[in-house]
């Protein structure tokens, strides 16, 4: 398997083609966060509904490359139903992983683990993390 095959895993392609929790809501209870990276064409919005310390719902709308679109979708799926605490831990672990820093291997990243292939592509790290950064900001 070459580097590119490490990047374009089946799960990623599957999410790219069938993004989950797609479509934004106009509900003020959701915290909404949009990050644009116009020079790459990335434009990602994440909406989060937190109730009683739990991530009740995540909605997303992402355009851009496959990695950024898929990572928004995977994020949304993983996060729904987590405690805010847990969610933050997963975000930090994920971001450490894709940015090639040390990360807590005991944290289960579930499907998000497939984004580890991005490490070999420093220029794509942003694609893989943009949705996660937007999500994290919503939790603060």
């Amino acid at each position: 398997m070459n580097n590119l095959d490490h990047l374009y895993r089946e799960i990623i392609m599957e999410h790219y083609k069938n993004p989950r929790n797609k479509g934004l809501v106009t509900n003020d209870d959701y915290k909404s966060n949009r990050i644009k990276n116009p020079s790459c064409g990335d434009d990602i919005t994440i909406q989060v509904l937190v109730e009683d310390g739990m991530v009740k719902d995540v909605k997303q709308e992402a355009s851009g490359c496959s990695i950024s679109v898929a990572s928004a979708s995977v994020l949304s799926e993983i996060m729904i139903g987590r405690s805010v605490e847990e969610a933050k831990k997963i975000v930090d672990t994920y971001i450490n992983m894709v940015t090639n820093k040390e990360f807590d291997e005991s944290v289960d990243l579930e499907e998000a683990a497939v984004f580890s292939g991005v490490k070999k592509f420093p220029a794509r790290i942003k694609c893989a993390s943009i949705a996660w950064v937007a999500f994290k900001d919503s939790l603060e």
Binding site: L7, C40, A123
Partner: protein
């Protein structure tokens, strides 16, 4: 297909890289690298104010570089201002000339083909002065046509801010005609020549350009050095925008005066090594000959386009580039996915908007891949590029894009 005689002058090409990113920055020939070294190793002293040999010599080379640039574009040397780059040059015009000459109701005419550096300094001026930005409608191909320009210019037009060659489409603007018309309306024309100077002979006098900006690093020179040509009378009446160092004439406690143009615009210690390297770059370009560069790159470009026309699965946005920039996407593949494939194969292209968002809006796309043919590219490079395109098309298709 004869051997490319210039490759040996470019040490970076030893790296098995297929370099198609010359529109972003060009490679540097040995003579430029050595000239930078000569300053750093032998001279390494400040200019204009030292009397010992090294400082004298550095000053001499610095001013010779100014003459060399002037000569290259048929200007006088006092019309050549050194800056950090095209962006700094264009901002100097906007901040000094633009802010002080435009008023509410005036218009700045520009195009969606501009690089951001030729556009947003003027948005700033518009914002500051109450002038309005107006766009010359582009042709279907995305070109600036003379008719459209004539239909848009008016008595209110005070500045035309326009590229000589587009960094996305490689189109040559009909500059001479545009400038003549602009002058009939009393407008000043500020030309972004960053993508022209390395490809075509530029004669500012014959063009009658009021300002003309370009960068050393795109014309085989070092990074950190840019040029602003301005007509003597315009530069003379303009205020400097940076103060300090050698540009000051007399300094008193509450006021100061400045020297004449161009020195008044060169505040503080300038990028001396880069200026000295720039001179070597111009000499190299002259030795190769812009006409030879044009002929060689045109042939190679034609070869590429013929191959691309046989290819399914790519979308080419400019079929007739005048300076051999080719901008495209793999069908259905976001450009940032595609670029990773090329990068893995040591093919240097660029993905994104290339600091030119409006032309992407015009093309109705988010981003694109851009390559450029320059004279150190080879037929082999083109073969590898096209083969890789084919592979990439297959690869992404199989993945399900």
């Amino acid at each position: 297909m004869k051997e490319n005689p210039w490759i040996k002058d470019f040490p970076q090409l030893n790296n098995h890289l297929h370099y198609f990113d010359s529109a972003a920055t060009s490679l540097k020939p040995v003579s430029v690298i050595e000239q930078v070294n000569y300053y750093n190793q032998e001279l390494s002293s400040n200019i204009h104010r030292g009397m010992y040999y090294e400082s004298q010599k550095a000053t001499e080379l610095y001013e010779e570089a100014r003459e060399s640039v002037a000569n290259f574009i048929n200007a006088q040397s006092n019309e050549i201002v050194f800056t950090r780059g095209t962006t700094a040059s264009l901002n100097l015009v906007a901040r000094s000339f633009g802010v002080n000459h435009l008023n509410q109701g005036d218009e700045i005419l520009t195009s969606e083909l501009e690089h951001h550096s030729s556009l947003i300094p003027w948005q700033y001026v518009a914002n500051k002065t109450g002038a309005k930005i107006k766009y010359i409608p582009l042709s279907d191909q995305g070109r600036i046509a003379l008719d459209a320009f004539k239909a848009t210019i008016s008595k209110a037009t005070k500045v035309v801010a326009i590229n000589h060659v587009s960094n996305v489409m490689g189109y040559l603007t009909p500059l001479k005609e545009i400038i003549a018309i602009a002058h009939e309306y009393g407008a000043v024309v500020v030309v972004d020549g960053a993508q022209a100077i390395q490809h075509i002979p530029v004669d500012v006098k014959s063009l009658d350009a009021d300002f003309y900006a370009f960068s050393g690093h795109k014309m085989l020179g070092p990074t950190g050095i840019g040029i602003l040509y301005g007509k003597d009378d315009l530069l003379s009446e303009m205020e400097p925008i940076e103060f300090g160092g050698d540009m000051a004439l007399d300094v008193m406690k509450t006021q100061f005066s400045w020297k004449e143009s161009p020195i008044k615009f060169e505040a503080g210690t300038m990028p001396i090594a880069s200026v000295i390297g720039l001179k070597a770059a111009i000499e190299y370009l002259k030795n190769v000959g812009l006409d030879n560069i044009h002929q060689y790159t045109k042939d190679l470009y034609d070869y590429l386009i013929k191959k691309l026309n046989e290819l399914d699965g790519i979308e080419l946005y400019n079929h007739h580039s005048d300076t051999f920039i080719f901008t495209f996407n793999l069908k259905n593949v976001p450009s940032h996915d595609a670029i990773s494939y090329f990068s893995e194969k040591h093919i240097a292209l660029r993905a994104g908007q290339h600091c030119a968002k409006l032309i992407h809006d015009f093309l109705n796309i988010n981003a694109s891949l851009r390559g450029t043919i320059y004279f150190y590219n080879t037929y082999k490079d083109v073969d590898v590029l096209v083969d890789t395109m084919k592979e990439a098309i297959d690869y992404f298709k199989k993945l399900g894009f």
